[in-house]
């Protein structure tokens, strides 16, 4: 059952039946092709039915799936020859944020991203992907290197949020994020942002300002976590489902609001069901956008990046 979500259960049961039938047929040397075909068609239907109309809360669960590919997985699957660099030169090295130099195809790119842990031990080290100020400052240090040497930047966003703790406040969590927004807006190199899992509020945006913002099909991106919104506005954290619906946090929603530029399709059920395929789609999209952006002068890049941000928001003028 590990790795399956509640709403996927009917599909899981069917897939198990198919597996059983196949191994039974193999062992008994019986031809069950017809029955298998029927069941597989049924599974395909069910898959379409379940994943075709996911609620925003179900998408949230996929975005947070413990087997979902994380930043380091994408770097590896994209075939990047990656040299990780460490530290913010101010306080420490935050393992909730990774960054470094990547040879990506025939490109040299700086990559930064939030990094969640795969198990409890790693999650403690990675602080569940919730960065401290030193994480944001490390990210900016590396992105500034990219700016200095004319290398494009790829960022992978996947965090529940910037860490809310005593040390984080003492060292200026708010300032660290604010300054990243300020500086990323004027880095003279292409920046492609990919929201791969959870885009948790200011902690996500802190490495999320770019020329192109892409979002995986089942990723989420929101101003506050559904739980946080529920506890403040609905006075009950348990009403996170309702908050997720109200805030409109899926890739489709954000495409409609003009906040992202492209939805990167995922395998049915989510990237974890076929990580290599998900990574190929991500790699293809990044390369395509980088090609576009590389044709622009630094001035044009920065001007258009600012214009893109200035267009964000809805209001009326009376």
């Amino acid at each position: 059952m590990a790795g399956w979500l509640e709403f996927e259960k009917p599909l899981l049961e069917l897939e198990q039946r198919i597996d059983e039938l196949r191994s039974f047929a193999d062992s008994q040397n019986i031809d069950v092709a017809k029955e298998l075909h029927r069941l597989e068609a049924k599974a395909e239907d069910l898959r379409r039915q379940i994943y075709g109309k996911l609620t925003r809360w179900q998408v949230t669960q996929i975005a947070r799936h413990p087997r979902r590919p994380y930043t380091a997985d994408y770097i590896r699957m994209l075939g990047v020859d990656f040299t990780e660099l460490h530290g913010d030169r101010r306080f420490g090295d935050d393992e909730a944020m990774v960054g470094g130099l990547g040879f990506f195809g025939d490109r040299k790119v700086v990559i930064v991203g939030h990094q969640k842990g795969r198990d409890t031990k790693e999650n403690i080290r990675r602080n569940f992907g919730m960065a401290h100020p030193e994480g944001y400052r490390k990210a900016l240090r590396l992105m500034s290197l990219a700016g200095k040497f004319g290398r494009p930047i790829i960022t992978f966003v996947d965090t529940p949020g910037a860490y809310p703790g005593i040390g984080a406040e003492e060292r200026g969590q708010a300032e660290a994020i604010a300054y990243n927004l300020h500086e990323m807006s004027r880095l003279p190199v292409p920046i492609v942002v990919v929201v791969i899992g959870e885009g948790g509020s200011g902690g996500a945006l802190g490495i999320g300002v770019g020329d192109r913002v892409l979002m995986l099909e089942y990723a989420i991106y929101s101003v506050i976590s559904p739980e946080g919104c529920a506890s403040i506005l609905f006075r009950d954290a348990a009403r996170a489902q309702q908050a997720a619906e109200a805030m409109k946090i899926t890739a489709n929603d954000l495409m409609g609001l003009g906040v992202i530029d492209e939805i990167v399709p995922e395998p049915a059920g989510g990237a974890h069901r076929d990580p290599e395929r998900a990574a190929r789609a991500v790699g293809e999209a990044i390369a395509r956008h980088l090609s576009d952006l590389e044709a622009m002068s630094p001035e044009e890049l920065v001007r258009k990046r600012l214009a893109r941000l200035m267009a964000m928001g809805e209001f009326k003028e009376v």
Partner: protein
């Protein structure tokens, strides 16, 4: 047990005392810091601070305008930009209804008052957040007004002054409110490119998405005494770490100790502090020190 009883007794005495000193509405106010009963006129004279414990009462954007600007010099700008309900957001109330109520309550149509003014003789663009309007929260309108005002500061080549008093991003506008952080910060980078000054004032409270954007991007950052300033609210932090928070945590003085702000300034000195910073960084002095002092005196500073 003994301790609990003594606490009860103390509380009882307190109640009696309060009753005895109850005064007609409007004439007197009880200090939220030290419980001192203060005559309204005295409070006004002290710019809504307690003369006994220095507690700074929360005041409206219009009151801050009067505290910070030269008499009659403020011209409100960008008044016609109003909120819509992009998500059709409903929690316990409809966002659309909350907007109507906030307008009625404050008499303003947004959570930020923007305009141009003279400050100690200097022309400046000024944005003052109004906590009374949905907690001074930043949605599309605040982002747009601050971005446009910053652009006006660039066009006029004058300093920008922001005063924050806010709970952060406006959740009812979802991701669009988050994007205002990037929008305002990006425009401030432009202001920086142009070699112009931003003085950021942080009043109680300055938290969340506003702190994580323009409020932390002042060339000089000034806070009012006792103001709560932070990224996450203390309740969220406590729930996360399940520990008691240190005394004075996230207060202006705490931020000063940790190197996050330049100064903590009493409201009565706030204007002078801002003027001095502008005096230093700008060459085109439009007033004299005597003017500034005279105006300050006239305002009872």
């Amino acid at each position: 047990m003994k301790d609990q009883l003594s606490w009860l007794r103390r509380r009882k005495r307190g109640i009696k005392e309060a009753k005895k000193r109850e005064m007609p509405d409007g004439l007197w106010r009880k200090c939220e810091g030290c419980s001192e009963i203060i005559y309204h006129k005295e409070l006004e004279r002290n710019l809504w601070t307690c003369s006994k414990c220095n507690y700074h009462f929360r005041i409206s954007a219009a009151q801050y305008r009067d505290v910070l600007t030269d008499d009659g010099s403020f011209v409100e700008l960008l008044t016609g930009i109003e909120s819509v309900d992009p998500l059709g957001f409903v929690d316990s109330k409809k966002y659309a209804d909350r907007l109507v109520a906030a307008k009625k309550k404050t008499g303003h149509n947004s959570a930020v008052l923007t305009g141009s003014a003279r400050v100690g003789g200097h022309l400046a663009m000024m944005a003052i957040l109004d906590f009374a309007f949905l907690g001074g929260s930043m949605g599309s309108v605040m982002g747009e007004k601050i971005a446009r005002l910053t652009r006006m500061a660039i066009e006029e080549r004058v300093p920008l002054i922001t005063l924050s008093s806010t709970g952060g991003a406006r959740m009812q506008e979802g991701i669009l409110s988050l994007m205002q952080m990037a929008k305002t910060s990006a425009m401030l980078a432009k202001l920086d490119d142009e070699g112009l000054l931003h003085v950021a004032i942080q009043a109680h409270p300055t938290t969340g998405g506003v702190t994580a954007s323009f409020a932390s991007l002042g060339d000089v950052i000034v806070a009012e005494p006792g103001a709560l300033i932070g990224f996450a609210g203390p309740r969220v932090i406590q729930q996360t770490i399940k520990q008691d928070l240190p005394d004075g945590f996230q207060r202006a003085e705490f931020l000063l100790d940790h190197g996050m702000i330049d100064m903590v300034v009493h409201r009565k000195e706030l204007k002078n502090a801002v003027v001095k910073v502008i005096d230093f960084f700008t060459d085109d002095r439009r007033g004299t020190a005597e003017d500034t002092l005279g105006q300050a005196r006239k305002q009872g500073l």
